[in-house]
């Protein structure tokens, strides 16, 4: 039964990992708007959105 110590230890570490991930996502602003993404994902997008990254890089260079 002493394996319990290892098990408890591991599970606490993993649980802390999940908590950390949640707190990070809040900090990152993912929970600020929980409504719009639900609407956005139902849109049909005909064209691929490949431009933004290129344009951002372009703008930042100058």
């Amino acid at each position: 039964m002493s394996v319990m110590y290892i098990l408890i230890g591991c599970s606490v570490v993993i649980a802390l990992g999940f908590l950390g991930a949640f707190l990070w996502s809040v900090k990152n602003g993912q929970m600020d708007d929980t409504y719009t993404p639900s609407v956005r994902m139902l849109f049909d997008d005909a064209l691929p959105e490949a431009r933004p990254e290129k344009e951002v890089a372009e703008a930042e260079e100058s």
């Binding site: 929970m31 951002v56 703008a59 930042e60 100058s62």
Partner: protein
């Protein structure tokens, strides 16, 4: 109009649920859904109501974004004209600097507020902004806040052009003083999320570690370890997640006021201390799982409440009413400067309809100031050159020149806004009912604890402490804290679905307790929107009509707007000597024509009235006089809103009054609709209405005032509940507690009875919670409160209360057809 629902509740799929009044289908604008009369444009087999809508349609279609129209019917906003120079001040580098949130090379990020966002089409279109113009890189919409986050390349497009682009497609960005000042204010409050995360984490893990205890397994080795782990896990709850309850309880107690957070904090601390003692002394496993669960559920309740409040954000900060740029006169040259650059000594040109941004001396022109935002009185104050003008008023007649004497002072403005007229009694966040009950709750619980502890002291001293703490633990006020927000939050959502938008949950309680209803007539009972307009008299020439239109445009009176909408578009002329006489008429000169437009008295046409004094015909007359000749008059019929009799029927048993600024012309008609004995007062000025409400309240009555907000803002603020009827969102007044959409007026009686139902549900859930407490107390007092029992009872009570209130409210709403 149905979109107003989505505007405030943020749920586009429910837009079409507000059922439109059944009318013989007139052609409706493909873009914005407004009535196409009178100016019916038919292009490419589609109907449009004006050039503006057609233009926006063209822009959207050319960019290949027709999906806008496929996602929703008539998604556009009824065109608002944009003045050419409206965004000119955005060229100023210092303004751009303040507005940008981020800049790296040419990459710029900015946030705009666009109140016209109201449905999924808006989101769709605005997130494809980059297709309209090169230079816009990315755009993201936050529907709840009606904000657009834009990333653009400043070399390819300027900030001003971005704003103008948004305006061109119908989403005029609103720029206000508040936004210009603090970008920091847009940082949302995330602490509740953190607290819930931590509490949930701790709750789950503590429960897991308590499992052996639930199954009655004893293994001393692990009991100790688990016990200590539990203590460690519960520390963040005590010190972080639950800290707000302690703070609030302390704040209340220091004012000698017991609020609901007092028993909650008491419960949390006793739970913790007793558990700590038990674990350290190894006399038991402690109740930390109950403690964690308690805090977790309470925080969930708070989150739900916050979510409801967020959707109801139509109480805008006073700052957003203030202009962001002003016209400064430098040696007779006009220049637009941002408000922040204003200094004492600057000379400003303030045009008709513009706000006075800071205290100043009137130099030139006739001052005619409307201070309704500030004092609630909409009578114009006349001011002569040389007099001091206070900030916050709006100049109404013609332009004036003002020399600023004081800095734009936020503190003064805040004081004005917090003027007695605008402040209603502070309400406990959770409502009056909860406040009342929580006071007694704490005292009774402490009493029971002391008594039962005392009794046990006689028999078995050891048990005494145990029982004392057990009582304090199990007497859970969480039901009290949860019942109200969940019930009222659900009630508010139900109302919003049906076209009735409340400012806050406490308004529900106020409505439920109302026993006096006061109605304004014009604009409230009548519908100036779709009235018929006919002209009688000398026909007017084309240039006279143009002059008339230009004059009408200066006035915001509903009759002026109605006439303006009715007359054919024919170009604009410069208007000089414009004067508006509240309730009587307007006069001015345009294109060489001297015009007087208004009531028969105003224009001097009394002798011409054919049947003066006899048969009263429905409608208002707007007489027109050019130069010395009285030409004729427009007759604007005021159809009463559909459903008025239904509404009156729904309010059976209530006392009703009608206060109208109009004359007794329509008394006979009103008498047929309203129950006999309803007092009607006519020719009421805004002060009269205000005084009337004040007197009613002094008699002890709870008054609901229903108005249109144009000249009853003072009265609306005086009443216990001020409801304004909204046809047009831009005419919204800050004084009202609720907005009622025109189509929902007929169901006012249903809203009243449902508010009462909501209160009854809350009382029922209080009863349910007392039942739980009784059961729990019976365990506690007899010394049988094991951690297992507590762990079951407390979350169970919280969850059932939440489920009970929400589901019951929804069910009752459904039964009522709401």
């Amino acid at each position: 109009m149905a979109c107003l629902g989505a505007f405030l509740i943020g749920n586009p799929t429910k837009v079409n649920k507000v059922k439109p009044a059944p009318v013989a289908a007139p052609p409706v604008c493909y873009h914005c859904g407004a009535d196409c009369q009178p100016l019916h444009l038919r292009r490419e087999d589609l109907n449009f109501c004006c050039e503006g809508c057609y233009t926006v349609f063209g822009i959207i279609r050319e960019t290949g974004l027709k999906g806008y129209y496929e996602l929703n019917d008539n998604p556009g906003a009824t065109g608002k004209p944009v003045e050419a120079g409206k965004y000119a001040f955005l060229e100023d580098e210092s303004v751009v600097e303040q507005m940008l949130e981020f800049r790296n090379g040419n990459l710029c990020k900015v946030t705009f507020t666009a109140p016209d966002i109201h449905c999924s089409s808006c989101i769709w279109l605005l997130e494809r902004l980059h297709k309209f113009r090169e230079g816009v890189i990315k755009s993201e919409v936050n529907f709840g806040k009606k904000e657009i986050y834009l990333t653009y390349n400043k070399e390819k497009i300027s900030l001003r052009q971005v704003a103008e682009l948004l305006a061109a497609i119908g989403y005029q960005p609103e720029l206000s003083l508040a936004r210009l000042e603090g970008n920091q204010q847009s940082r949302p409050d995330r602490s509740l999320w953190y607290k819930i995360g931590v509490a949930g984490f701790a709750f789950g893990n503590i429960m897991l570690l308590s499992f052996p205890e639930y199954f009655g397994l004893e293994d001393l080795q692990f009991t100790r370890i688990f016990g200590f782990l539990n203590i460690i896990l519960s520390l963040p709850i005590l010190l972080y997640s639950g800290i707000d309850y302690f703070r609030s309880a302390w704040a209340g107690l220091s004012k000698r006021h017991i609020n609901i957070d007092v028993p909650i904090s008491l419960g949390i601390s006793v739970l913790f201390l007793r558990s700590l003692a038990e674990i350290i002394l190894e006399t038991g496993p402690g109740y930390l799982d109950s403690m964690a669960g308690l805090v977790f559920f309470l925080l969930l309740g708070k989150w739900f409440q916050r979510k409801t409040y967020d959707f109801l954000s139509f109480e805008r900060d006073y700052k957003s009413y203030f202009p962001i740029s002003v016209t400064r006169l430098v040696r007779q040259q006009e220049e637009q400067i941002p408000l922040s650059k204003l200094k004492p000594g600057d000379r400003l040109l303030i045009r008709s309809g513009e706000l006075i941004p800071a205290d100043g001396l009137l130099l030139k022109g006739q001052g005619s100031i409307d201070y309704s935002f500030v004092s609630g009185e909409s009578d114009l104050m006349a001011r002569e050159p040389g007099e001091l003008l206070y900030a916050g008023g709006r100049q109404e007649r013609g332009a004036i020149e003002v020399e600023i004497v004081k800095e734009v002072s936020q503190s003064y403005l805040t004081r004005l806004w917090n003027n007695e007229v605008f402040r209603k009694e502070e309400q406990d966040e959770l409502g009056k009912l909860t406040g009342k009950v929580s006071k007694y709750f704490t005292l009774i619980v402490i009493l029971i604890a002391l008594i039962s502890g005392g009794i046990w002291l006689v028999y078995d001293a050891g048990m005494a402490l145990q029982v004392f703490t057990a009582v304090l633990i199990v007497a859970c006020p969480c039901a009290l804290a949860l019942a109200t927000p969940f019930t009222l939050g659900t009630v508010i959502r139900v109302f919003s679905r049906n076209g009735f938008f409340l400012k806050s949950p406490s308004v529900v309680e106020a409505i439920a307790g109302a026993d006096a209803w006061v109605f304004d007539k014009t604009g409230t009972l009548t519908q100036t929107g779709s009235s018929e307009v006919n002209y009688e008299g000398d026909p007017l020439q084309a240039d006279e009509i143009t002059a008339l239109c230009s004059l009408l445009r200066q006035s915001r009176h509903p009759l002026s707007r109605r006439l303006y909408a009715e007359l054919p578009e024919s170009g604009m002329q410069l208007v000089s000597d414009f004067e508006e006489f509240g309730g009587k008429g307007i006069k001015g000169e345009a294109g060489g024509v001297k015009l007087q437009v208004g009531s028969a008295d105003f224009v001097g046409a009394t002798s011409r009235l054919p049947n003066a004094g006899s048969v009263q015909r429905e409608g208002s007359e707007v007489w027109v006089r050019t130069g010395d000749r009285i030409r004729g008059h427009f007759r604007v019929e005021h159809p009463y809103r559909e459903g008025i009799s239904e509404m009156v029927g729904g309010l059976e048993g209530q006392d009703l009054w009608i206060l109208s600024g109009d004359n007794e012309r329509e008394e006979a008609l009103l008498k047929t609709v309203f129950p006999p004995g309803t007092a009607m007062h006519f020719r009421q000025s805004p002060e009269d209405k205000l005084r009337f409400i004040r007197d009613l309240r002094a008699e002890g009555r709870s008054v609901v005032m229903v108005g249109d907000g144009l000249n009853d803002s003072g009265a609306l603020k005086q009443s216990d509940v001020g409801i304004s009827i909204a046809e047009d969102v831009s005419a919204f007044t800050p004084a009202s507690d609720a907005i009622l959409s025109g189509q929902a007026v007929r169901r006012l009686g249903d809203f009243l009875s449902f508010s009462r139902t909501g209160i009854r549900v809350i009382k029922a859930s209080f009863a349910l919670s007392f039942l739980y407490n009784l059961i729990g107390l019976s365990f506690a007092v007899t010394g049988n409160l094991s951690p297992l029992v507590a762990a079951i009872l407390m979350p169970l009570s919280s969850v059932t209360i939440i489920a009970f209130t929400t589901l019951l409210t929804q069910y009752l709403a459904h039964k009522k057809g709401l």
